[in-house]
Amino acid sequence: MTQAVRINDFIVRFANINGSGSASANTLFARAILRMGVPATPRNIFPSNIQGLPTWYEVRISESGHLGARAGTDLMVAMNPQTWDHDVASLTPGGYLFYDSTRPARKPRDDITVLGMPLTAICNDVYSDSRQRQIFKNVIYVGGLAALLDIEPEVLESLISEQFKAKEKLIAPNLAAMRLGYDHARKNFDCPIALRVRRADRVGDRIFIDGNSAAALGAVYGGATVCAWYPITPSTSLAEAFARYTKNLRKEPETGRLRAAIVQAEDELASIGMVIGAGWNGARAFTATSGPGISLMQEFLGLAYFAEIPAVVFDVQRAGPSTGMPTRTQQCDVMACAYASHGDTKHVLLFPEDPYECFVFGAQAFDLAERLQTPVFVLLDLDIGMNERLSAPFSWDDARKMDRGKVMTAAELEAGRDFGRYLDVDGDGIPYRTLPGTHPSKGAYFTRGTSRDEYARYTEDGDAYRRNMERLARKFTTAKTLVPRPMRRDAAQPTRFGAIYYGSTSPAMNEAAEMLAAEGVLLDLLRIRAFPFHDEVMDFVAEHEKVFVVEQNRDAQLRSLLIIEGDIDPARLVRVLHYDGTPITAEFIAGEIGGTVGTANVVPLRKARP
């Protein structure tokens, strides 16, 4: 079969068995493509199991830099007999099937090319140790793929050398295994095949990291010193990354002791309780969790809101409700976080789009929490949290100082400054606080979840309660001016249509907008980065006849939030909802929006009016 050559634009999917050591080999493959200057986006697709069950790793190679998911597989690396039928069926016509031909298989489809490499036989010949046979099988197939796809073996060699810098003994055997696969493919196949990687210059200075690690590094830079957490997929790697980073970056050189405390709590209630206790006592504290954890934290979050205690919560969202699909992605905790707890509550939410913003917001969340004296949620999801993604390099301004907010000092108290814990001195709704132990006789107060007056004295007086609730609402208005503003990108020409999106939907939305523009459907784009919504969000909605709200949940949670908070006519906001647990794709968005608008309908605003 002869196929048209496709350079730097195809999808490779690895079908593996969980626990077989394929993850690092697959990452090596993705990184080699990036090193050749070609954007590549991997995604882990894994069921909720540890060992022996199927797992997939999908790499989208896109010289035009599209980092969103896309349907279809052009090359299947079928290493898992359990999923063979499914994997073969999912190949696009004209695609390639790469498999371990130690036990030859009958050609399963006529419209694909089958590439068999006897991986097990090669390994059995070369290695005697069973673990080595398993591990090096993965490296051998990466070598084979390099030959097939025209990936420079020198790039793989340098990556392997870097990876095992600390365990030098492992470099030579890994290099040999890679070469074994490379040479075998060169000898037995007509290399390269029609899918090819060609050196380009489209990666630039971008870095390759997962959002959870980036958020954890943001917490380190943001000055977090207390992390209390409870293991839950897909957030676990955030707390673990924080532990890893603090070990290197927060060690007191003279003593080897740590400038951070990390506690694995007994549950999420205790995690948030510890965060609140630490925040009350003046440390920057956070927890990392996912939807079920947010549910468990509800009562405490109300306390933190009402008692005005800084806290940072990283919620790496997964498909709910209940245990739902714990290893699948969604944006389904927006409502649960925005109005977390009983009574009238509202919380600050941040929506990072990629690892870069996970880092930026991960640090900024602590400034916001202390400035506003309230919980701040950073809403990641599994797609950006647990997958490595190409993103802008991290940067830091060394002149930047932590914003510790309104904390009254011993000197100010001594000088006779009036201290009312819940007194709105500046008119922004944010009162002053004191930290425990500040002054021998001034500034002590009692923190409680029950109502109190401006001087923190317990009261059930209705007026005092209402004044306090109104001040809290005023504080939330102040938050609008402090949180990250939305990012707007208008179409080349004026249009009646807009699209609002947030978080991990970004790359798919950007690509969809390009696809739609090519069909004549023009969209102005607004990426929301925080709640409460900035006035620009409401202006954007007012300026457009229809606004598509693109999100990854069933109930259009952000759309509801916009309607509630902005008093928007629901008819103006059109739902575009993807919620099967897979990452949203450009094709899906373009299909939904294109279907609603219809090309005939699209007349630029200026021409429509005389």
Partner: protein
């Protein structure tokens, strides 16, 4: 119910302690609990203990959950920051506060509903983690604020004021604390100030997880015949294993007891515990025998009180986590933020 400030008038000759404070400087607002409530006696004991130890009141952080007992931190140490948190969750808040600043003295006050029912999990985990705090449960075996329901420490077979019989087994917090690794475990009685004050003093100075189960009869709902937490019942069944005199490192030890009656325990900070033995065969350094003794006496219908277990060299959570000596809430920016040059190195490793 409202905030009742106490008049700040002092007797001109009111005695002062080593740091110049009077007893009144350790008081809080006027209690709003029922007249005769055992909890008020515990508040008074806390005030006396802090005064006698000459602790600067503002260096104490007092934390509680929800319930009658958890209201009491308002009624002592008015110059200290207090945190009345969520029902059953004081231990986690105290843990976080302790992580943020290891230099304050943490006093957690809770009740039997707060710690043995809704908060049993957090009670257990705070003790096993070695939070350097004094954890007092004001144990009356009943829910007061909701008017008289049994709590998890109510004995099986005891009756409520309305006449209902408790059919569930009781949780013994002292037994749990011993099992879970608390390094100071005591039981006392709100009606026995001579026993309670030294125990609180010793617990406040203990550099690890110190737990005091203080039986504190509820005069309103659990002080009737048929209750096993009434003043009369406790007085009749109280079996103190020892009497404690707490002496700080600065004080001289005067021997006014016959040899063999007294055991002197030197704590890590130099503080001295002088134990006068009442049960001659009781060893407060042996967890296993303490548990056995406790269970035997419980079966015999006795309520064992006194200092039941102490480890003079406890290990606390900060030691286990290997955190720096400076409180984490006092670290400056430059010590926390690795800076742009380090970030460049990190970026380079991610390409």
């Amino acid at each position: 119910m409202s905030f009742l400030p106490k008049p700040k008038l002092h007797h001109p000759e009111l005695a002062t302690n080593d740091i110049g404070f009077t007893r009144r400087d350790y008081e809080g607002a006027i209690s709003t609990l029922c007249a005769g409530c055992g909890h008020d006696s515990i508040s008074a004991a806390i005030i006396r203990a802090c005064y006698e130890l000459s602790l600067p009141p503002h260096r104490i952080a007092k934390l509680s959950g929800i319930g009658c007992s958890s209201k009491t931190p308002t009624y002592f140490l008015g110059a200290a920051h207090g945190f009345n948190s969520v029902h059953g969750r004081m231990p986690s808040v105290a843990t976080g506060a302790y992580l943020a600043n290891r230099e304050l003295i943490y006093l957690g006050v809770s009740g039997d509903g707060d710690s043995a029912s809704i908060g049993l999990g957090q009670f257990a985990h705070a003790l096993r983690r070695g939070i350097n705090m004094t954890y007092i449960v004001e144990n009356n075996g009943v829910y007061g604020l909701t008017k008289g329901q049994f709590s998890a420490t109510s004995d099986r077979g005891s009756t409520s004021k309305k006449g209902a019989t408790n059919t569930d087994a009781a949780i013994d917090l002292v037994g749990l604390a011993l099992q879970l690794g608390a390094t100071f475990v005591a039981r006392s009685f709100s009606g026995d100030k001579a026993q309670l004050v030294p125990l609180i003093k010793a617990a406040l100075q203990h550099p690890g997880a110190a737990f005091i189960d203080c039986i504190s009869p509820c005069v309103q709902f659990n002080n009737h015949v048929g209750s096993t937490k009434s003043f009369d019942y406790i007085r009749e069944h109280n079996e103190a294993v020892n009497r404690l005199d707490y002496i700080t490192g600065r004080s001289e030890i005067t021997a006014d007891y016959a040899p063999g009656e007294i055991e002197v325990v030197v704590q890590h900070d130099g503080g001295v515990l002088r134990l006068r033995k009442l049960a001659t065969d009781y060893d407060p350094h042996d967890r296993t025998s303490a548990l056995r003794y406790l269970q035997e006496r419980t079966v015999a219908g006795e309520i064992v009180t006194g200092l039941l277990y102490v480890d003079p060299e406890p290990e606390n959570l900060h030691q286990r986590l290997n955190t720096v000596a400076t409180p984490l809430n006092a670290l400056e920016d430059r010590l926390l933020c690795p800076g742009s040059a380090m970030l460049e190195t990190l970026n380079a490793a991610l390409r």
